[in-house]
């Protein structure tokens, strides 16, 4: 039944649905916190030992353990952990010696910028490819798009990154190499948004903009390829569902042009489910950026996470896991809610 915003019952039902969602989202976040807390506890590294050093006496060790609150029951420790996280306290990173929350705020825009360009590429190419495949079902064009999409599930992202660097940077020289911008241009424009492309436009510095773009285009295109694979596959299957319906036959019998049948009649009803798919792949890109950023030395959250992993810097690892997890869950649930609100058949 559609939600009728004009009646009181309809609005009440809408509120109830939203409350249900809020509860699920809160529980999921709590689950995420429980997982990171658990991981923090099962680490073989003793957090007390890491602070006092291994030459401390037993008394010093015990005093520090009490000072860090590690003598309390686990459930109380968890409650104070949740409290800390809500206040934005993720602890201090051992390797950068800064607050993890500050580190994350600094590196996040770089990831956001790359993932956003990636999803634009993925949607811009993936949707038309999926529609084309469905419209030409069973032909070589369909098979070709299918194999290309399956490659997106089979090629390791880090391998594609390396091969891309060797080919387009080293051999052909079409793009710039690893990093976000040449050292020469580093820090030339003031960070306003943290998104280098936007900042350089704001500063009207086209040289920096061109340089940043030439660094960004390859990793973003590779990320985009992986979302393209998923989006094209899903678009194709949604379109096939629609093209088999009787209203499509009616439209064709009426003499509507094939282009109009496909892009207007059949495409209209799949826009809503596509939003969910695009949301899911955007969230997936944040995850996929871990590998790509490592290969391209891209100073984003994925690179931060892997560097922290190699240094056994657990505060930073857990903080980055928490933020990526939270953004991932946030995008997932938002696209879920959007789907329910936009599709009158659901709820």
């Amino acid at each position: 039944m559609p939600i009728d915003f004009r009646s009181r019952d309809g609005i009440l039902r809408f509120v109830r649905v939203l409350t249900g969602f809020a509860l699920t989202i809160a529980l999921t976040f709590l689950g995420l916190l429980a997982i990171t807390f658990f991981i923090g506890r099962v680490v073989p590294i003793d957090p007390v030992l890491a602070v006092v050093g291994d030459r401390a006496t037993q008394e010093q060790y015990d005093a520090m353990k009490i000072a860090m609150g590690l003598d309390r029951p686990l459930i109380l420790q968890f409650v104070s952990y949740v409290g800390d996280v809500i206040q934005g306290d993720l602890g201090r990173s051992v390797s950068t010696n800064r607050l993890v929350a500050e580190d994350l705020a600094r590196v996040f825009p770089a990831t956001l910028e790359m993932a956003t360009i990636g999803i634009i590429i993925g949607v811009g190419l993936g949707v038309p490819m999926g529609v084309t495949a469905a419209a030409n079902q069973g032909t070589w064009l369909d098979q070709g798009i299918r194999v290309l999409a399956l490659l997106g599930y089979s090629v390791p992202a880090f391998w594609l990154g390396l091969v891309g660097l060797a080919l387009f940077y080293a051999s052909l020289g079409w793009v710039s190499g690893p990093g976000r911008v040449d050292i020469f241009y580093d820090g030339v424009v003031d960070p306003v948004t943290g998104l280098l492309l936007v900042d350089s436009i704001l500063a009207r510095d086209w040289e920096v903009f061109r340089n940043a773009l030439s660094h960004l285009v390859l990793p973003a295109a590779i990320l985009g390829f992986f979302s393209l694979a998923y989006i094209a596959r899903m678009t194709r299957s949604f379109m096939l569902d629609q093209l088999g319906q009787e209203y499509i036959t009616t439209a064709r019998v009426k003499g509507v042009s094939e282009w109009r049948v496909i892009w207007v009649h059949a495409f209209a009803p799949i826009r809503v489910p596509l939003i969910t798919v695009i949301g899911l792949s955007y969230a997936g890109l944040l995850e996929g950026s871990v590998m790509i950023e490592t290969v391209f030395s891209w100073p984003g959250i994925g690179n931060y996470l892997t560097v922290a992993l190699l240094n056994a810097d657990m505060n930073a690892v857990l903080g980055a896991t928490l933020i990526i997890g939270a953004v991932f869950i946030g995008i997932n649930k938002t696209s879920d809610v959007l789907y329910r609100v936009l599709d009158p058949r659901s709820t």
Partner: protein
């Protein structure tokens, strides 16, 4: 009566004949799908390579020969040599064993775990269902790779821990599928009949519910294999999975990273192996779905 007639008999005389006939029909349907056949051949090739690695590989995967470092592919070393003079082809061949071990172990750990949790939740319903699925959904909405990374960070790098971490992130999807399947026949007559005879809940779940979930599980596990291979290779690439000198494909790519601009073959060759095997599982999974799960055929 020929063997074929016996297999295709419309009224089989024994359970064995019925099962054999079903597998025969499925096999025929799979053979009509060229991509599925290609996928099955690739996986057979992987298994054969893993089993016969010592006979296929011309050299030892760990034997160093420092006088022939970083040689390009030639007739003597088909894929060239790496920075310690080891034959890359031999290492890729032995790497098939590691990859096969990883996917098999993850499947053996994650699939039964998800199957039991899903079947129990779907069969009992009520608060058991709510509790188990709430737990499953929380795990399902986490980013898999990140979760696996964090688990490996906590457990320590190494191939065993990588397998555990991947399995921990893989089971929720199977629980969801098993539950969905179980709910469709939970209140059907044959379950009521077994109940009436006095079978215990454990017996019903184990002998009557689980077997009916198997076909969709097999499809899903096959389709997931590519993702598992990529995650394992990714962990190896980051130095968190298999440790040197193990010839794991992801770790080999990682070692070749330094030489990518001049000696491209060191990092590139193991990548082709990963792509080939992953594609094989994708092709076979797609084909199996069309045969075993006609409801989903042609979708996604």
């Amino acid at each position: 009566m020929s063997a074929r007639d016996w297999l295709l008999d419309e009224s089989p005389n024994s359970r064995m004949q019925a099962n054999a006939g079903r597998f025969y029909r499925m096999g025929l349907a799979l053979l009509r799908n060229p991509l599925a056949v290609l996928g099955a051949l690739i996986i057979l090739l992987l298994i054969a390579t893993a089993v016969f690695a010592p006979w296929i590989a011309p050299e030892s995967p760990v034997g160093q020969m420092l006088d022939r470092r970083l040689l390009p592919p030639s007739s003597a070393n088909w894929m060239g040599t790496d920075e310690l003079g080891r034959d890359i082809f031999s290492r890729v061949v032995y790497g098939a064993r590691i990859t096969l071990m990883i996917v098999a172990l993850v499947a053996i750990i994650a699939a039964p775990l998800g199957l039991i949790i899903g079947a129990v939740a779907g069969y009992f319903g009520g608060w058991v269902d709510k509790l188990l699925m709430g737990f499953t959904d929380i795990f399902l909405s986490m980013p898999k790779l990140i979760l696996a990374l964090a688990f490996v960070a906590a457990l320590g790098p190494g191939i065993e821990n990588a397998i555990i971490a991947i399995a921990i992130t893989a089971w929720p999807a199977y629980a969801r599928i098993a539950r969905a399947e179980t709910i469709t026949f939970r209140s059907s007559e044959f379950i009521s009949a077994v109940k009436l005879v006095g079978a215990s809940d454990a017996r019903i779940i184990g002998l009557h519910v689980v077997p009916l979930c198997m076909s969709s599980m097999i499809v899903r596990v096959t389709l997931d294999m590519a993702g598992i291979i990529l995650t394992a290779a990714g962990l190896g690439f980051l130095g968190l999975g298999a440790q040197p000198p193990l010839p794991e494909w992801g770790a080999m790519i990682s070692r070749g990273r330094v030489f990518i601009l001049d000696q491209w073959w060191v990092a590139t060759m193991p990548g082709f192996a990963i792509i080939l095997v992953s594609l094989g599982f994708c092709f076979l999974g797609d084909g199996l779905r069309d045969v075993l799960d006609p409801k989903q055929a042609g979708k996604s």
